[in-house]
Amino acid sequence: MLLSASVKISSVKDALAALLKDYEVAAPVSDGANLLYSYITDPNDVVFSDQLPYKSPKEFLLPQTEKILAFGEDSAEDIQEAKKTVIFDVRPCDLSAFKRITDKVFSEGKFKDGFYMRRRKASATIGMACKSLKPGCFCNLRGIDKSYSTECDIFLTPAGEDEYIAAAHTPVGCDLLKSCFRSVPAAFSPEPAELSETLEICSEEKDVFEKVNWDAMSASCISCGTCTFVCPACHCFDFKDKGSVRYRVWDSCMYSAFTLHASGHNPRAGKPERFRQRFMHKYVYMLKNIGESACFGCGRCTRKCPAGINARRVLECIKAEAAGGSDG
């Protein structure tokens, strides 16, 4: 932590107004049916609540539809723009998903993604503590402390009735805190939450792949892909050409077209295979490839699943079945 200060809750809207002068600001707003992150023009639109917006804020770093190049007969345009953005009220689960998954996937390793990196560099995150576990949340079992995170520029922790303690973790965070927030320096020593056990699949990849009864597990899935769209860590994409413009769009491993070959062959032709891919990618392959499993227990997939599939329950079943001696 580079700096800590106390901020009156009533002054946060003024701070957002100050931020709006130089930045695009994304924050939770209500569209009548849902709470969701959206670019705001008026700080009064921001909804302050303990609820988690139904989609993660990943769309501000990896937009659902992103123009990446355009060409004409004798011209080509390489899109380089990345607006200066502040994402406000991001919870520890989402912050970890950015830092540990999308950052690693897109800006470390062999292939670097300029579009993501430019956006990430141009954006600041203001985190916020969660007061309670919502139905479906299981971040406590995924090693996430819901009340504190350092994986952001500024983190706000409620202190008393009308105050936040703001902790700046980066130079950018310090600047923003000093320039936009009316704050009073205050000491802050966060107490790390005691996380009981973590829920992690410990079995061999082969056992998970073979021993788990994926047919039964996926029986009620309707392949809608909602889970992947609301997830903060899912980051698969596809390219689409519309005339002379190329777009990058989100894709989902739950769709049958995801792995469809031009020949017509589909290596993951059935629902159980696709269901298996999603969970193995999250909990097994990512752990092997980058050292982190791609689930932070935000519970969004569970809350939005039309078939009532509970991610934590699935994880528990996979763990038990993969460790079991039976052939599944």
Partner: protein
């Protein structure tokens, strides 16, 4: 939970246990209790023990019939009227055989069910899902809903009638929807899907309940459902062997809005 709901669950359990013991069925498609009270779990129950967690209340409002496709016979389905109508549509469209499904209807009145094999009375069933349409005809309302759509296709996946092996949205040639990008794509998707469903909708509301963004475009198909009833005297899934109105014609059909 109210007593009448409990008694429905007991009745359903008795029916299913009997079916299991007589080996009439090998599984039951139903809702069961989940860890989150408000979210019932869609389950394929394969043995009598699995019936313990059976759930039946207003929150069990998602259509189940689509999950019957591709299952080996014989499956029992705990069906609201729309599920039974969807089964009839599947039979009419050659996707299911009547003998492969055991329909346990739960509803206000047995006459709401075009077909059933067993029936349990539900004194407080779901209200009819057809929407009043104050917003019909408003482009602003339509576009506001369209803008909320994230094109995840959950509505399509939940719909009994969307079982094409390859959806028009996923075809590159012809590319009906400009690359699946932007507002035009969403408009083409929703209008195209509504056209495909015209006269086939069984009014389960699955498109609305499955949508993660709360998009409500159900009034469009509801209006066409009403039109197909008024103009062509057709109600989807109420009669085995019936043709859906857009696969049928009469020589004296009206032509509203056509140029003279």
């Amino acid at each position: 939970m109210t007593e009448e709901k409990l008694s429905i669950i007991e009745a359903l359990k008795t029916i299913c246990e009997d079916l299991f013991s007589k080996r009439v069925i090998s599984r039951v498609l139903a809702f069961t209790e989940g860890e989150i009270k408000e979210i019932p779990v869609v389950s394929l129950i394969t043995n009598p023990e699995g019936l313990k967690g059976l759930k039946w209340d207003e929150s069990c409002n998602k259509p189940l019939a689509k999950l019957l496709l591709g299952l080996k016979p014989k499956t029992a389905i705990i069906a609201r009227p729309y599920d039974a109508r969807a089964v009839v549509m599947y039979i009419n469209e050659n996707q299911l055989k009547r003998d492969d499904v055991f329909i346990i209807g739960v509803g206000k009145d047995a006459s709401d069910f075009p077909v059933f094999d067993a029936f349990a009375k539900d004194p407080s069933p779901l209200q009819s899902a057809r929407e009043p349409s104050p917003s019909r005809g408003s482009l602003d309302f339509f576009l506001a809903e369209i803008d909320r759509c994230i094109l995840c296709y959950a509505c399509r996946q939940a719909c009994w009638g969307c079982y094409c092996p390859s959806c028009f949205m996923e075809r590159g040639i012809p590319d009906w929807t400009p690359a699946g990008v932007g507002r035009e794509a969403k408009i083409a998707f929703h209008l195209g899907r509504t056209m495909h469903l015209a006269g086939r909708c069984v009014e389960c509301g699955g498109c609305k309940t499955a949508c993660p963004s709360g998009v409500n475009l159900k009034y469009l198909i509801d209006s066409l459902t009403q039109m197909c009833y008024e103009e062509y005297g057709h109600k989807a899934g109420m009669e085995e062997g019936a043709r859906d109105p857009l696969s049928d014609y009469r020589c004296d059909d009206g032509q509203p809005g056509f140029l003279e």
